[in-house]
């Protein structure tokens, strides 16, 4: 009964979004402000409606309404309430509703802003937002209804949206429960973060389309959506980082990124989004690359839809894949249609999007930004190629051929290295014109510093050529960034008579995007240290030992002390927990670790949780592989030593912090932008 009501609400929402689309288009055609206003209000109505639908679904999840197929599939009686709520996005039907709900929230937020100066954009922003929303709500109504109920007919028990004739409602005793791997705090917030990032990229896209349709193709749409883009990027980045951390903590294979198609699907919009973030600055400052920016946001939008689709379908084999489903063709149709329409609009407005200035110097800031964009797009092409290669090869040779992580590492490695090098050079170049001489004058001090650091690392840490090259680039970026920060602060200190800390603070406050950006560059370098460390220096060992025996790896000694196993009946889990002590090179005691194996009875599945001993230098990562009460041979462990990995997580935190600084709302973005322009001219000319 309640489930039927929930479905009804979804149908009403669908009709409201369709009305909003038509009212906006028709109102715009007839120049009727009242109709456009009506469209706007209709769109505002979608959020309360979807909140109601979501509330109903959550009610069903919490109260064990197993007659609802979705509830049966993702929850069980033994799950705590908070996990039942988060099971909302634990399956395909629910996550489509979740996507729609977020989309309507963001669409409402954006329609509530002041529209005085941008009236002409409004109807088209509504149209784009509502078409996207209608697509997702339509998917839940026609194909993936989370409110389907189980009915018993003569053919057996099957899920139906409407009760078939001669059937009775069927209520299972208990649900199947969420996959134990997903019952983890990281997994509770990782999907919402990723979805927030996905959904918020729809807003800049909507404004871009509005700009193309209305022909108001100056940088207004970019200025309006600048902060949206940054927040979208923040959420997407946070989603990726949390997913990596979850994989590292829960999947127990000693790494955090496996170049799995679904990981790549989430990574691809991040790549184009990052390219977009950089290239819009060229349009703002120099009036160039307007076609390119349009194209980037269109590709980002369609990659977001593609990403949502990939994470929720079984097209490509992946650990994330949940199920095959009927929605695939519709997603491709939608992606195809939006892509063709958007690109057609760019061609239609081609002349209006011409650059106002010409690029002259190869070393100017805009040329280096363009190079940065090309590198991001190249990485995207590598990723996309890797994901679709099985399909392509099957098409042309009839033989499915896939590529694995070595392909990605090898093809993207040089591109990432080039990007890091650019991060070191570009901040020192000037807009319009730079020469080797001016650039050289700015960069020689950090370069000398980086060479000294690299030599020190060569003497003390490693002789690996790739590592040495990587560390040199990383050191260069860090020094350049600090140098730039210091130069800005020093100039202020002298000019305004402020002390160092006040100068730093004011500098950042005055130009958040620039200095937030520097913090992000810095954090990327730190993350790169971790990525180099785990890829080049990871070591592992494994063995079966008895209590009080030891294993040795990379200068560390692990002594096996104890193991215990017990049931937690209410939670439906059996825990097996070992205690091991870790000793350093000279036998110093470093700490105890507790690698665990949890066995979930309802899902009949174990979950391996490593013990981790973290330090800035190494992380000792111990997995309990096997323990049997009757096994005389002992207990089996696998140990990884992951050098430098914690720089990855430190960098991640700093990274998110940097985006928040860049994205934090100012009193009046317009005025600050003007001021930033001025201060930039002062500081960026390579002195």
């Amino acid at each position: 009964m309640i489930a039927d009501f929930g479905y009804g609400v979804l149908v009403v929402t669908f009709i409201v979004t369709l009305y909003s689309i038509f009212a906006a288009i028709y109102g715009e055609q007839k120049k009727s402000a009242a109709l456009v206003e009506s469209a706007r209000r209709a769109m505002l109505l979608t959020w309360p409606l979807l909140t109601l639908a979501a509330g109903i679904l959550i009610y069903l999840l919490i109260n064990n309404h197993f007659e609802v197929q979705f509830v049966y599939e993702v929850t069980s009686r033994s799950m705590p309430t908070y996990l039942k709520v988060t099971a909302w996005w634990g399956g395909q039907a629910g996550s489509l509703l979740f996507w729609s709900w977020l989309m309507s929230a963001f669409a409402s937020l954006v329609t509530l802003r002041k529209w005085d100066r941008d009236r002409e954009f409004l109807p088209w922003v509504i149209v784009v937002a509502c078409v996207t929303l209608a697509f997702f709500v339509g998917m839940t109504i026609f194909f993936e209804n989370p409110f389907k109920q189980l009915f018993q007919t003569v053919d057996g028990i099957n899920p139906f949206t409407f009760q078939p004739a001669n059937s009775i409602l069927f209520t299972p005793q208990d649900g199947r429960g969420l996959n134990p791997l997903l019952r983890h705090p990281g997994m509770v917030i990782h999907p919402p973060m990723l979805y927030l990032g996905f959904v918020s990229f729809v807003i800049p896209y909507a404004f871009a389309m509005a700009a193309l349709i209305t022909g108001r193709t100056d940088d207004r749409w970019i200025r309006i959506t600048r902060r949206w883009t940054l927040w979208a990027w923040l959420f997407l980045s946070a989603g990726l980082v949390l997913g990596s951390r979850w994989a590292y903590d829960v999947l127990g294979w000693g790494g955090f990124w496996g170049w799995d198609p679904v990981e790549i699907a989430a990574f691809m919009p991040w790549l184009t989004g990052t390219a977009f973030l950089h290239s819009v600055m060229i349009q703002e400052k120099r009036g160039m690359l307007k076609h390119w920016n349009m194209l980037l946001i269109i590709i980002t939008y369609d990659l977001v839809i593609f990403g949502t689709f990939l994470t929720r379908s079984g097209v490509l084999s992946s650990v994330h894949a949940f199920a095959q489903s009927a929605i695939g063709p519709f997603f491709f149709l939608f992606i195809g249609l939006t892509l063709i329409t958007s690109v057609a609009l760019i061609i239609y407005r081609w002349d209006k999007l011409r650059s106002e200035t010409e690029m002259t110097s190869m070393l100017s800031r805009e040329a280096l930004f363009l190079l940065n964009n090309l590198l991001f797009i190249s990485i995207l092409v590598v990723c996309f190629w890797g994901v679709i290669y099985p399909l392509i090869s099957e098409l042309f040779t009839g033989q499915k051929v896939t590529v694995g992580p070595p392909f990605y590492l090898r093809a993207t490695g040089p591109l990432f290295a080039a990007l890091i090098f650019l991060m070191g050079v570009a901040p020192l170049s000037a807009w319009g014109h730079s020469t080797l001489k001016t650039l050289g004058r700015a960069i020689w001090k950090p370069t000398v510093g980086a060479i000294l650091i690299t030599i020190a690392l060569y003497l003390t840490y490693t002789h690996n050529l790739y590592a040495i090259l990587g560390f040199f680039l990383i050191a260069l970026v860090i020094l350049v960034t600090i140098y730039e920060y210091w130069r800005g602060a020093y100039a202020r200190q002298k000019a305004q008579g402020e002390n160092v800390f006040v100068a730093f603070w004011n500098l950042t406050k005055r130009n958040r995007r620039r200095y937030g950006g520097y913090i992000i560059h810095l954090s990327i370098s730190l993350m790169a240290i971790g990525i180099l460390g785990i890829n080049l220096f990871q070591t592992e060992t494994q063995g079966t030992i008895g209590v009080n025996d030891s294993m040795h790896i990379a200068g560390y000694t692990m002594k096996y002390k104890d193991v215990a196993s017990w049931d937690n009946a209410p939670a439906g889990v059996n825990y097996t927990r070992a205690t091991v002590s870790i000793y350093g090179k000279d036998g110093t005691y470093l700490g105890d670790l507790h690698p665990r194996k949890d066995y979930y009875f309802d899902a009949q599945q174990p979950m391996t949780i490593p013990g981790q001993l973290a330090s800035l230098k190494d992380e000792v990562y111990v997995i309990l592989i096997d323990w049997q009460p009757i096994n005389q041979a002992g207990t089996t462990f696998k140990i990884f030593v992951n050098p430098l990995i914690n720089w990855m997580w430190i960098g991640s935190f700093l990274f998110l912090f940097g985006i928040i600084i860049a994205a934090w709302p100012d009193e009046d973005p317009e005025r600050v932008a003007v001021r930033a322009d001025k201060s930039l001219k002062q500081t960026s000319a390579a002195d």
Partner: protein
């Protein structure tokens, strides 16, 4: 003149990227095969990088904790998605594959931790190579348990 240097630069970058992709693909390709296809290829495929998918037969799973050597057998499942759909979905196909003794089977050896998802009727996607005796040596083991998510109809309660 000014345009030229950017065009040349662009072509250079494009060329570098194409080379990177081409050489990396050539060096790291893995042939995605079903067990039937593998048997049909015979010796021509020995020691090539392969990716094979199959249904795990629960009774054959053996794990030697001393050497961390995992051995099990997988049964032929079709690789084509539409074919899987027409046979009632992945869960049904995997179930059939394990029950049907006439299906081609393959022995798999893997050294490493036993994956949590390894169990009867799971779909295993293995990367590795096949030796002269027809035993598959997996370097990487990916598992999916569609029954967990897909089985639309619950077992009758009580």
């Amino acid at each position: 003149m000014k345009i030229n240097k950017f065009v040349i630069g662009g072509i250079f970058i494009l060329g570098a990227v194409v080379f990177l992709i081409w050489s990396s693909t050539a060096a790291n390709s893995e042939y995605f095969l079903t067990i039937d296809e593998l048997n049909a290829k015979g010796a021509s495929i020995a020691n090539k990088n392969l990716r094979v998918s199959g249904a795990v037969i629960g009774d054959t799973i053996q794990y030697d904790t001393n050497s961390l050597t995992l051995t099990f057998e997988v049964a032929q499942v079709p690789g084509d998605n539409s074919l899987i759909e027409s046979q009632g979905g992945l869960a049904a196909v995997l179930h059939q594959a394990v029950l049907d003794p006439s299906r081609a089977r393959m022995k798999v050896v893997y050294v490493g931790p036993k994956p949590d998802l390894l169990r009867n009727e799971a779909q295993a996607i293995m990367t590795g190579h096949i030796d002269a005796d027809g035993v598959f040596h997996a370097d990487e083991l990916l598992l999916k348990c569609p029954t967990k998510y897909e089985q639309a109809v619950p077992k009758q309660a009580g």
